[in-house]
């Protein structure tokens, strides 16, 4: 059976996460098609066609998909799904928005955020904020799955798949796009960065987050945050790491002024090396940290920046 991967893209760029989802599709096995839905997405389709392991890129290029709203994109997937045994997307806010809608329209379950493919019907996924790993088996004819990108290494980009247009005649009277306020940053994307440095409530203010900038510059790091820091308005919501924010698994994760609640750990405990900087030597973050440094972040951060 073939597999359809829903591509993710923004501003004419294929998102890095799609290459990870294709890797999960390879682990399942079978022909892999990628669907690019959007408006003026020619360059995205070309980028998708270069992903290793992809047989064919299907492009739905129309105004109705311009903002990739869930209502038309799920209808499009329903129209195409007859050709496939699996439909996969990244477990991003986009994938999570669209795939359950597809699953319900097809009267099948949806499997969220898989971290391992056992076989074509059986998958592992974290539950209870990652405090347990469930193995689930699907008997549904169509398996609709979101994939945790950090659990699958991206495929390369040396392929030469064919690109085909799909006409689906979908319209959407239910929802419309008003606007988007995206955070602009020159730093690497949180989910893909090799180094992440995150600040928590201990940072004390949004202004103080600047203390992380110099270190992030030197390490080429992305900057993240705990929920408490986001809720306090120090930084925007897209920086939240955790059970209900972004999942990261970099080579190096530095937690600064973060206590280490299970909901935060759920988003970063698969990092290779964890450093914790906290003035409370009993903070739970130290239980998962490879290297803990007890002390005042306002003294430690400037020193760390100068010594890197």
């Amino acid at each position: 059976m073939s597999i359809l991967v829903l591509a993710e893209h923004h501003d004419g760029q294929l998102a890095e996460t799609t290459a990870h989802v294709v890797a999960a599709a390879q682990a399942i096995g079978g022909d892999i098609d990628v669907l690019v839905a959007g408006e003026n997405v020619g360059t995205v389709a070309e980028a998708a066609a270069r992903l290793d392991g992809v047989s064919r890129v299907r492009v739905a290029d129309a105004a109705v998909y311009a903002h990739q709203l869930a209502e038309p994109v799920s209808e499009l997937l329903v129209a195409l799904s007859g050709d496939y045994g699996h439909v996969l997307a990244a477990a991003t806010t986009h994938g999570k928005n669209v795939l359950p809608r597809l699953a319900a329209l097809k009267d099948v379950s949806q499997i969220s955020e898989i971290i391992e493919v056992v076989d074509a019907d059986t998958f592992k996924r974290p539950i209870y904020a990652g405090n347990a790993i469930a193995t689930v088996q699907s008997e549904d004819a169509l398996k609709v799955i979101t994939v945790r990108s950090t659990a699958f290494d991206a495929v390369g980009a040396t392929g030469t798949a064919g690109v085909e247009a799909v006409e689906a005649g979908i319209d959407n009277a239910l929802s419309s796009f008003i606007d988007e306020r995206l955070e602009q940053s020159d730093r690497p994307e949180l989910g893909a960065a090799k180094v992440v440095i995150s600040g928590g409530r201990g940072m004390g203010s949004g202004e103080n987050f600047k203390l992380l900038d110099g270190i992030a510059d030197k390490l080429g790091a992305a900057i993240g945050a705990s929920r408490a820091a986001v809720d306090a308005g120090y930084v925007p919501n897209d920086m939240q790491v955790g059970q209900t924010g972004k999942i990261v698994a970099p080579e190096l994760y530095i937690a600064v002024g973060i206590s280490g609640a299970i909901q935060h750990l759920a988003g970063m405990k698969d990092s290779k090396v964890i450093v914790a900087i906290n003035k409370d030597d009993e903070a739970p973050i130290f239980q998962v940290a490879d290297y803990g440094l007890v002390g005042d972040l306002f003294e430690i951060l400037p020193e760390l920046e100068s010594k890197l």
Binding site: A70, T92, T93, K96, N97, L99, P100, R101, A103, A104, L105, D107, V108, S109, Q110, S112, E113, I127, Y128, A129, G130, N131, A132, I133, A134, T135, V136, Q137, S138, D140, L174, S175, S176, F177, I178, E180, R181, L182, V195, D231, N237, D238, T244, L252, Q263, V273, I274, D281, F286, Q287, V288, A289, D290, Y291, G292, L293, V294, E303, K307, L308
Partner: protein, 250 residues
Amino acid sequence: MKVLVAVKRVIDYNVKIRVKPDHSDVDLTNVKMAMNPFCEIAVEEAVRLKEAGVATEVVAVTVGPKAAQEQLRTALALGADRAVHVQTEAPVESLAAAKLLAKVVEEEQPQLTILGKQAIDSDNNQVGQMLAALTGRPQGTFASEVEVEGETLKVTREIDGGLQTVALQLPAIVTTDLRLNEPRYAKLPDIMKAKKKPLDTKTPEELGVVVASGLKLVSVEAPAERQGGVKVGSVDELVDKLKNEAKVIS
């Protein structure tokens, strides 16, 4: 307009769960249960809409065992007017929950239905989107702001890159993100009053929904434990360890 809120009984978010020794599931005996935190936010939003004069009635619904009545009583104490309990002792997977909720939506015809974005037990993040599909309604997922403007609902959504605002044709489905509001606590007199508010019980059979699932739970394991590391005494030592021991910086 009528607002329906779906609430789920889950493990309290502070509890650290254990896996059963036979790996059949997690062990929920004697653990503290509570309303899913995202559902508290959903109830709060519905009650605020009523207080603002936008909603005329707030109905809370849950699908779950007899004990889930506690969470409905909590919703009533927080300001819901009445409650519907779809009672079943069987485990209910997201699709089945969505089908049962779709029947309740069909009966109640709410203009707006609010759910949590995710239940913190399964971490599924599915039911709202599925309910929207089954009822043919638009969805505003991961909402951090909702505003009723005549026949449309303006929803600001927390997406990976920032915020997105969409307009949905009412009736619509919304799922809550953490920053939609800060839920209130129930006051004692309200908890007393909630005991007298109407609570209707139904069964999946009465609603004509089969609670079976195409998904089988094969086993549950504890995740690999991280080895606790060491404390370093100074920034110099930290930099040295990261360079020469962990080799993650150069």
